[in-house]
Subunit: 333 residues, 4 copies
């Protein structure tokens, strides 16, 4: 019973079917009929004109997004626990030509506008100090918390006032939207987001994420950078097909709801063991070594996150029986 | 009737079946059972110990291979028509941190050891001039010619004598092996190749190429660079599955033979119109504008390559009737 | 008797005196009184508003100039014999984050607008091919030829029409101005030059070149990039002092005239041995090995440039007796 | 009365005299007689074979040193207040191709081996996390504290055990040596330092620092990187002359003793106002706004460092009367 990572989950049937359907000759790279539908499909979803590019990983999406807003001599402000800082082996630095990540704190990997403003005020505006040019937030955060629309908007207002771009790492953006019951627009451009790494892979996709620019002109140079990074796939129709299949009939939202519901069920059983409220599909649980061993002894797989803390992640396809079994096992500890 | 690009072709059924079979939970990134089989599978194919990494494009494979051999202040010697120079939007420069591509000539995009040696001798060994650290060749070349084992070995001997790494861009390596009837080893490590971008996508794959290091220790830092470039896919089992499916029962070789045979059939009909001998699956044909229009009028799709020259590419799945029709149409011009 | 390089020459007395005069406490970096005078002093010289930055080498000036106009995924068009390509160990690639130098030909390292336009037309405007964003020319060229104002203007018009920046490597800009008898404006912004690496060191300076932006806003990010490259000197007053001393009373022009005159005298004696007309202070001479040895036997020091070709450079301080002796010796060969 | 920065000070007479003496024709770049003496002169000073390169700034020295030890996908561990992090506009990232600076704490910008070890232990050794490859310390630190030989050795032992290079930013290395009364060797290679940025400019030099490699083979690629960064000066003899003049008769040590003594005199007067012990030539003083204004009213110039804290720096040439006046003024507050 795997609660290790939503990357371990199945690819959902709609995506598999779309791959089979896409298996016919068409133009290479992003010249095929499916890739050419992406801008329109995502513009409709977001209710505004966007540029949408498929990419093969969230790391690439994040790197390309930041490269569109930040030059090598500038900086990105982000949380010290942000995925871009801790788990991408320096991809932002690679894509931006060496921009600095400036790290700030905040519980649950959530950033607070006042903290950010104070941090930014501490930077002298002279050439000796790297100047920030973008703010990057993760929604849902690395600890499974969500920024609500007004929270995004507050950060967006700050970014705009300072002349920074605003990037959202949305590896679990679908889970955040599902959790809040808002529109994708509410959590993105309406709050001032300029570029969104919109995750599909953890949510039932196979190998494709979407990079969305709400200022479509940012996509122009990005298309060159995507090629230069080796991310312009030669049979792009198989990438586009995955995204379109998940937009169709809101599969992306259905899957996210399923994962969130599973996590919520487990969270209900966890009570005071929760390190953070469970707002999306990740659960951080206080467990002694003995408790962790006991759960593993019953067949539950999950990661140790820190001493005394375990991380459990629910997938879109988490079997209900596994979820129920885990909830009971935790309650029984 | 498409003769535009082997990227336009179908994904072969073995690969599609492997994707379906791989759709079960497993560890993320390259920790899954399939990814962990790659080193052994390619070591067996090549008859020597190799490190094998999946990547999503030939451009990424080339960039990572060169980054393993060349630092930013150094250079790569390659042909002026090499794909890495003309069609990758500066990916080698991106991956190596700004290394210079030093361009040389030679008919059909084939390099000659004597020319390379003379070129290298013209570089002063002082700090003002960029010093080459690698040689990169393409087999089959961008004009569809193949380097035979002894030709590779001559370049490998040169590289070793100069202290350079030898990289082979094998986007159509399978076609070269099929054309020559030799072993993969004959065309690679036995001739001194250190790193091979082994192409599968043009040959019936979907989205995965193999990067092969014949000096396996070169893979160590490459694994970090792959992550940093956003090329460590989170559901890597679907990448590994494609490669393993094509190694199984030599599907890769079967597909390459099919494409080569189609091209040979057309070449036989083309006679003196051929710009180069057709040794693999690409045909460069002298056509007047009127002749090109006439062929297109009969439903044949292909690229204009240069004034008076068309490029036609045969795929692994090129319908025999299309091939036969094109051969007749060309003969009838 | 040294005709090796203008780098070997003395620092002129005005510069030495200015260093002594500058040796008093003042603010660090470029906050001192002398550095703050540079914009105005060069604006006056050029008759238009410019931003002027001191830097420690022509290589740094060139790199920073190109970085202000070209991103890493783009390209610079230049001559295959350009200093930025052949003698800077990849500095343009370093400063631009890996932009590609696209090489073209032309006698005497001079570029022709028609050739450049034809070359640019051969580049497909798709993401597979690196797109040029700047043109870089050297005046006087690496072979001592000068672009006249109308020649610069023709290249400037081409650059503007294509949307490229125009950079001039002016390591010997003073010699070009002196040779033509025009104004510095005629050879720069009036012809469409956006950024000029204005050389002083070969012309009697010690350790400082000027980087001039005719679109002053390009200097904003450059000031950060200069710091980031370690070129913001902590006692900048000694850099500014050198430039101001050479602007004062047109020392820069006096020195250049002297070097040009010396070269012209030798050229007159060389007749048909000249590889190129001597328009500035460099002489490329056809010499057999025996002739070269004979000259060296008489105490003349110079570089072999290519088989059968020697390069001789005259400095601002070349003793008249040495010049006369060399002229006679060449005539007597 | 300036206590702003040791960069504001005079160039010492020995350096000025050396510049005048160096003003004779010689080979360009680092081929001149003076530059060729550097390795030997610094090897003698350090009592071991070193490679010594002149560079124009401490920022360049630091960047080049780190680039010799760290690749772009790796990291440098340093203090959060390190100059390389806070005051070089991202130069380490530029020179290393985007390596990450990993920040740790410690009072007075001093690092503690146990803290560093614990920090390093928190990094997973997988490809998702950037792996450190070097440790960088500053001696004297950014707050004027010194690492004693045994403290350097403890960090050196840690670095060696972990396989990291050890870099010392010695912008005020002379002040540290003078303060400790030890040998330069005691503070560098004997403690495991691999590369030292040895500062001369703040200590009476004009425009040249020394980059010292105690593993001389690290200098080989560095010489190319120095050129590529535009730091290979064309009249290098004027750079070498500065360093040699300060090594001669231990001018560097004399100057550092003078600056330290001035600071010590002021520190004696400051008593409990000192934020840190004054071990070199920097003084961090607790001052109310009124007190700071009072001092400024008496003609003393210094920086506000943080709310309630002023920084005062003594130079090698600080007039004794100014020092005495300041000491009295502080005592009288």
């Amino acid at each position: 019973m795997r609660f290790l990572s939503d990357n371990a989950a199945h690819v959902c049937p709609e995506v598999m079917a779309a791959l089979v359907a896409a298996n016919r000759p068409d133009d290479g790279y992003d010249g095929d009929a499916l890739s050419r539908r992406l801008d329109a499909a995502f513009s409709e979803l977001f209710g505004t004109e966007v540029a949408a590019l498929w990419v093969s990983s969230g790391t690439a999406a994040n790197g390309l997004a930041l490269a569109a807003m930040v030059q090598g001599h500038q900086a990105v402000i982000c949380h010290e626990d942000a995925h871009i800082q801790r788990d991408e082996c320096g991809a932002p630095e690679f894509y931006t030509g060496g921009a600095k990540l400036m790290l700030t704190g905040g519980p649950g990997a959530k950033l607070d506008p006042a903290d950010i403003a104070a941090f930014a005020d501490s930077i002298r505006t002279d050439v000796h100090q790297t100047q920030p040019a973008a703010l990057s937030i993760t929604n849902a955060t690395e600890y499974g918390l969500v920024y609500a629309p007004d929270e995004v908007a507050a950060l967006g207002a700050l970014a705009r006032a300072r002349g920074w771009g605003l990037h959202m790492d949305g590896a679990r953006f679908a889970n955040a939207v599902a959790a809040l019951g808002c529109t994708p627009a509410d959590l993105s451009w309406k709050g001032g987001v300029d570029a969104l790494s919109f995750g599909f892979i953890k949510n039932g996709g196979m190998s494709t994420e979407a990079l969305i620019f709400f200022r479509p002109e940012l996509a122009d140079a990005t298309r060159y950078r995507r090629k230069r990074a080796g991310h312009l796939l030669s049979k792009g129709r198989f990438a586009a097909a995955q995204l379109l299949a998940m937009l169709e009939a809101d599969v992306w939202l259905r899957n996210a709801h399923a994962a969130n519901a599973a996590a919520a069920h487990i969270a209900n059983a966890a009570g005071g063991r929760l390190l953070y409220p469970v707002e999306a599909n990740e659960i951080f649980l206080r467990l002694t070594q003995a408790e962790a061993a006991a759960l593993r002894g019953q067949g539950f797989l999950f990661y140790d996150w820190a001493p005394g803390v375990a991380r459990l992640v629910c997938s879109w396809d988490q079997p209900a029986s596994d979820v129920e079994a885990l909830a009971r096992a935790i309650a029984a500890l």
